[in-house]
Symmetry: C2
Subunit: 331 residues, 2 copies
């Protein structure tokens, strides 16, 4: 009997433990390279760091709750984890991050070159894995997700430092950096299982809303978390001059003095000691953190509603609980 008090993600991991063993085995096999020993060194650094394996669990859960009993949900789960890891490697180059998952990033331990090329290698390995499923529809979904991810990353780069960034642009960036892979992960699980179209659609909607909620929470914690809780330094987004949701909301309501503050710190990048605290005080004054929190809760509720349209299943209930859990850190 499963402990109902356990975290939803742990309950998913327990239910799907056998499948997940196969996924981990496939990941280890496919991240190897006969000719270039540096590849498994770098990928092992990331893969062993653990991460939460959330995306592959989403794919496995979606396929299993739709009754799939073939082998290819394992390939697809490994595919989404490879895409995720490749994205992290390239992100770390782009963000010039020093820490990831609480450990030094690959680009600090090796160099940017290695991060770029090993990321490319993992992308191409993920591509091979999905071709093996023989499903053109799955390939189409993942090709589109890849384009959305890359487009969102470029958009984030150009939107950074731009005080005119709207909540609409923010949502596009968030879809790219997080929600596109979440929704592809759940959708391909349904597709490989041959689920009804309306169920496939609901799985997509669930992943999309879960991803948006997840990213808003992440962005909120960057202004309120600790290194231990978020695995990176709080305030990184501010220092990198990213227009995340609470900042966008605060900028929208800024008076002249505040606007000058945002222009100096974000648009011009002239930051001094105490500016981060000042930014947080301004956001608190306008209720920007609270408003962003409410948005995250609404996306989580949307995810729960979407998954609720699928037939009753233990995994369905765990996914619904996961939507609540994602926002629990800010509740």
């Amino acid at each position: 009997m499963m402990d109902q008090a356990a975290k939803p993600q742990d309950r998913l991991a327990a239910w799907l433990a056998q499948d997940m063993d196969l996924v981990n085995g496939l990941i280890r096999t496919r991240m190897a390279s006969e000719h270039a020993p540096r590849i498994p060194e770098v990928t092992a650094h990331l893969v062993e760091a653990g991460g939460k394996r959330l995306r592959p669990l989403l794919t496995l859960a979606a396929a299993r709750m739709c009754g799939y009993d073939g082998p290819f949900h394992v390939h697809l789960a490994a595919t989404v984890e490879f895409i995720h890891t490749a994205t992290l490697l390239h992100d770390d180059v782009v963000d010039e991050s020093a820490r990831r998952r609480g450990r030094p990033t690959a680009n600090l331990l090796w160099d940017n070159k290695t991060s770029v090329l090993v990321g490319d290698y993992l992308f191409s390995r993920s591509f091979q894995l999905m071709v093996e499923t023989g499903s053109l529809r799955v390939l189409d979904i993942l090709a589109n997700a890849s384009a959305t991810i890359a487009e969102g990353e470029v958009l984030q780069l150009t939107a950074a430092q731009d005080l005119a960034t709207t909540e609409g642009v923010y949502l596009q960036v968030v879809r790219g950096k997080t929600a596109a892979l979440f929704s592809a992960a759940t959708e391909v699980g349904g597709v490989i299982a041959g689920a009804d179209e309306r169920h496939v659609r609901a799985l997509f909607d669930y992943g999309d809303a879960l991803g948006v909620a997840f990213q808003i929470v992440d962005d909120l914690l960057d202004y309120g978390g600790t290194v231990a809780a978020i695995g990176k330094n709080p305030g990184d987004d501010f220092r990198e001059r990213k227009l995340t949701l609470p900042v966008i909301k605060a900028v929208a309501q800024a008076d002249a003095t505040e606007r000058a503050f945002w222009t100096r710190t974000i648009a011009k990048g002239d930051q001094q000691d105490g500016d981060l605290a000042q930014a947080m005080a301004i956001m608190a004054r306008h209720g920007a953190m609270e408003a962003a929190r409410q948005d995250a809760l609404a996306w989580a509720a949307k995810a729960r509603t979407a998954i609720g349209t699928l037939p009753a299943h233990e995994l369905r209930d765990m996914l619904a609980d996961l939507a609540d859990y994602v926002v629990e850190r800010i509740s």
Copy 2:
């Protein structure tokens, strides 16, 4: 009547001009991004710089000489050009190059971040294009080529500065950086046309040998070309401490003094004025340039032999002439 004295590539371009117009139109359409205007700025910089469009011509020629009259050779030609351009963007980050195709590189005009992310975007766009062909075999070939490319790049990174690099490792690197995409370009042309298996195999062998010859020539010219001829600074490979074929051959025959020279300049990277000239003198002493030149000629002959097994066709003869032309700069 085609001028038989024209360069083979120009004859190919003239014969395939209508198809190539469609390819260029598709490239322009697909490199656009609704949300991220920086993407077409960067890609236009590369695409308008022209390059030689050699790879898409290979795909179009292979498909047409095998009697293809459907629409998808155009998608595949655009696919290989996108993969090539994405690879160039990432290479420039990795090599820290300042010039590409005779113009400043994207990472100098924008930044490394943009080069990484726009490269990822082009990869994902190429992936979408190939999915549209509906051919799982084409997807399989291009997925494998992508993995070979990425693996070869990582291998080159770790083989750089390593005097123990063998000609076998060099060949693997060359397959990754050049030949894998050439051979995939010709092979998918045959596959989409439904050609006989032996003809598909010959098209693969042609592209592979052509690519190896092409890269050896490129590596030779780095020690003997001019900025005008090669679109980059001669001696870049030496300064980047790359173990290319003539260096590998010279190192294999080095006496103690020469070995100390290679250890200082390549292994340790302690380079001074005059070292490039000294390296060239040592290579000349051992006939290393000439031996590498003979290797390139042998690969070109192998390409000509492979394409000669296909049925008679004007395009076939142009491809055979192209094999000779590729090595003409060193003949």
